[in-house]
């Protein structure tokens, strides 16, 4: 081995596997899956699988977008409330203003992208941590959601989407079910797979993906080598807003109603899923597929506990222990990965 430069040496297959950021999440997913398959009767039935995939799907869409942003070195705390804001914009325009659902969706898309761009612009313009800036937007959106909803409808929820123009066709795209072997799977699962695939491709196969890793690793050195830092980061913030819009659209068309306090606190679940999936809180390292798997673990555990008929008083404890162990496994692998690289 001394004869060859170690940088040219071909790593062993196992070592090549452990350097992947999503490996910890993958192992975690297999463990959780195996555990609940044994512990709960109906976990592996068609309806059971449809239930936990459904739970994982909307969380997964957001986690994937959030993972890209985290790799780019930023946070978005407004992501959870954004899912409610976009639902509310769509619902108010469709039910109160009588707009066609598609047009309402378009307006809320523009709204979401504008908020995302604003987040990114403000972070770059002020140099403040995105944690602070998006905390501001989080609070502002929360207030807007409640204030506007009460102002327009006189109550704290908007409902009645099922009777609006274009509901059937929009619902077909965002909230229909696919029948596979007599079991109905939510179409949000397809969106989740599509978003994860698109994000993974964007991250590892395109120039933009390289920029994302670069600005997350070191914004200054990437600026020095000509990476458009501002554009990359703003686009990433718009990405989480876009995902928020997608999930908001899926929710409003599926449940046909939206409460003004929906989505609050979910932003942490997105970050948790991304971290389980191998994203570093410091940026520059992570994986979109990993985040999608992180969401899968979440969904399997959350529904698996119900399938196993455990007392739900202990649910949060289990979730916390599971998250910690997933992150610890990740950490161990990352350390091993760094040894392999050296």
């Amino acid at each position: 081995m001394t004869a060859i430069d170690e940088r040219l040496a071909k790593p062993r297959p196992l070592d090549r596997l452990v350097v992947r950021p999503e490996i910890g999440a993958l192992i975690g997913a297999v463990v959780v899956f195996a555990f609940f398959t044994v512990a709960a009767d109906q976990f592996l039935s068609g309806d059971g699988v449809a239930t936990w995939l459904d739970d994982a799907s909307t969380l997964g869409i957001m986690a994937v977008a959030v993972s890209l942003l985290m790799i780019g070195g930023e946070f978005d705390l407004s992501a959870g409330v954004m899912t409610a804001s976009t639902s509310l914009v769509t619902a108010i325009l469709a039910t109160e203003a009588g707009l066609n659902v598609w047009l309402a969706l378009l307006v809320s898309l523009v709204f979401a992208l504008a908020v995302g761009a604003f987040n990114g612009w403000l972070v770059l313009r002020t140099g403040l941590p995105s944690f602070i800036v998006t905390l501001g937007t989080f609070l502002a959106l929360q207030g807007l959601n409640l204030g506007v909803t009460k102002l327009v409808t006189g109550t704290v929820a908007v409902s009645g989407m099922r009777g609006t123009d274009g509901y059937a066709s929009a619902g077909f795209v965002f909230a229909s079910t696919v029948d596979i072997g007599g079991t109905k799977f939510q179409i949000s699962i397809l969106w989740w797979l599509g978003v994860a695939a698109a994000a993974a491709w964007l991250l590892v196969r395109t120039r933009f993906g390289n920029w994302v890793f670069a600005v997350g690793g070191s914004a200054q050195s990437s600026r020095a080598v000509g990476v458009p830092v501002a554009r990359t980061k703003i686009l990433l913030f718009m990405g989480t807003a876009l995902a928020g819009w997608l999930v908001g659209s899926i929710n409003i068309l599926r449940f046909a109603t939206v409460q003004a306090n929906q989505g609050i606190g979910l932003e942490f679940q997105y970050i948790i899923a991304a971290v389980i999936g191998g994203c570093l809180l410091t940026g520059g390292f992570g994986s979109a597929i990993g985040a999608a798997i992180g969401a899968l673990i979440f969904g399997m555990a959350r529904q698996g506990i119900v399938f196993a008929r455990w007392d739900n008083d202990w649910f949060m404890l289990f979730l916390g222990v599971m998250l910690l162990s997933a992150v610890l496994v990740n950490n161990a692998f990352r350390r091993r990965a760094e040894r392999v690289r050296r």
């Binding site: 059971g48 066709s169 229909s176 929906q262």
Partner: protein
């Protein structure tokens, strides 16, 4: 490169189109006549899933849970209680119960429209459903056997009426969960029942110190407020100390009981508590589902079974207080 990317996009589009062809839109779900293979077992122990919109550790819902579990123990029914305050997550818990092929389902419908597809899917799978607490107006429409609960609006009206009888002029209605439909209905009901001036105040239940100072600020800045209605027993205790600190003459009435409220009614700090006897909302549905399975019994005759409101005041507080302590009132 460009053409290659375009090819990929086109291929993805084609795949999506094929998959979409197998889809059923939410509006286009047709009902087939026979219940599917998911039909629950009709012999052996009855399994009942209770899915509420309460949050974990909530004092009110803990009593519902106690009621359901007590009924389960007494009647030999397996009862499983789950809860999530987010309507979407609650719908998923209902789907989960259907996937488990439970023998009966008990659902609180704080947001009926969001739960509609899941509740209907349960009914369609042949699972008898009983709604509790809220969602009375949609219960029958979605195919539930019956509804067990109190009408939030009626309960609010009763509270408002009681304040009116006490000769109050201006009422402050304290909402502790912004965005909760039921709480808005209670305050609206109180407005109707009270007839006089009613003002809403929003506080955050997870921050008791803030709740107390906001109530204090409200009664101090407007001395004409002589009645405060809180919608939760914990908030009631905050309102009592807020009124005292502000030197206000306002009297407190509240929804829901706990030992603090019982003590406060004894001392006269709280004039009444609207008790919807949620223990019954846990207990009765399990009993009804058991009777339905074993004897095809139904109750209510198409009307909801009302568990409240029962206004607890100084005259009844001693007896009720005992039951509050053991977690059944």
């Amino acid at each position: 490169m460009t053409s290659c990317r375009f090819g990929k996009v086109a291929a993805l589009g084609a795949v999506a189109a094929v998959l979409l062809a197998a889809c059923t839109g939410p509006a286009a779900e047709e009902e087939s006549a026979a219940p599917t293979a998911n039909a629950p077992l009709s012999s052996g122990p009855l399994k009942v899933a209770v899915v509420s919109h309460g949050t974990a550790g909530d004092a009110f819902w803990n009593v519902v849970k106690n009621g359901a579990e007590a009924a389960g123990k007494e009647l030999g029914v397996e009862v499983e209680y789950n809860a999530d305050g987010d309507p979407g997550n609650q719908a998923k818990l209902i789907d989960n119960a259907v996937a488990q092929r439970v023998g009966g389902l008990v659902v609180s419908m704080a947001n009926p429209e969001a739960l509609k597809p899941s509740v209907e899917a349960a009914v369609h799978a042949g699972i008898p459903v009983i709604t509790i607490n809220s969602g009375e107006e949609h219960s029958a429409e979605y195919g539930a056997l019956t509804h067990v609960g109190q009408s939030e609006t009626i309960a609010g009206e009763e509270a408002g009426k009681r304040f009116k009888q006490l000769g109050k002029a201006k009422l402050l209605c304290v909402i502790h969960e912004a965005g909760n439909v039921g709480q808005a209905q209670r305050c609206d009901g109180a407005k109707t029942g009270f007839g006089g001036a009613v003002q809403d105040l929003q506080v955050d239940i997870s921050n008791p110190a803030d709740a107390e100072s906001r109530i204090r600020g409200a009664v101090r800045s407007d001395p004409s407020i002589d009645a405060v209605l809180t919608l939760n027993s914990q908030v009631a205790a905050r309102a009592v100390s807020a009124a005292r600190a502000a030197g206000s003459k306002a009297q407190i009435g509240t929804f829901d009981l706990n030992s603090d409220v019982v003590a406060a009614i004894r001392t006269g700090d709280v004039v009444f508590a609207v008790d919807q006897q949620q223990y019954e909302q846990g207990y009765l549905p399990v009993l009804f589902l058991k009777l339905y399975r074993d004897n095809a019994n139904v109750v209510g005759g198409g009307k909801p079974v009302l568990t409240g409101p029962d206004l607890v005041d100084k005259s009844t507080v001693d007896k009720v207080g005992e039951y509050v302590r053991r977690g059944t009132r």
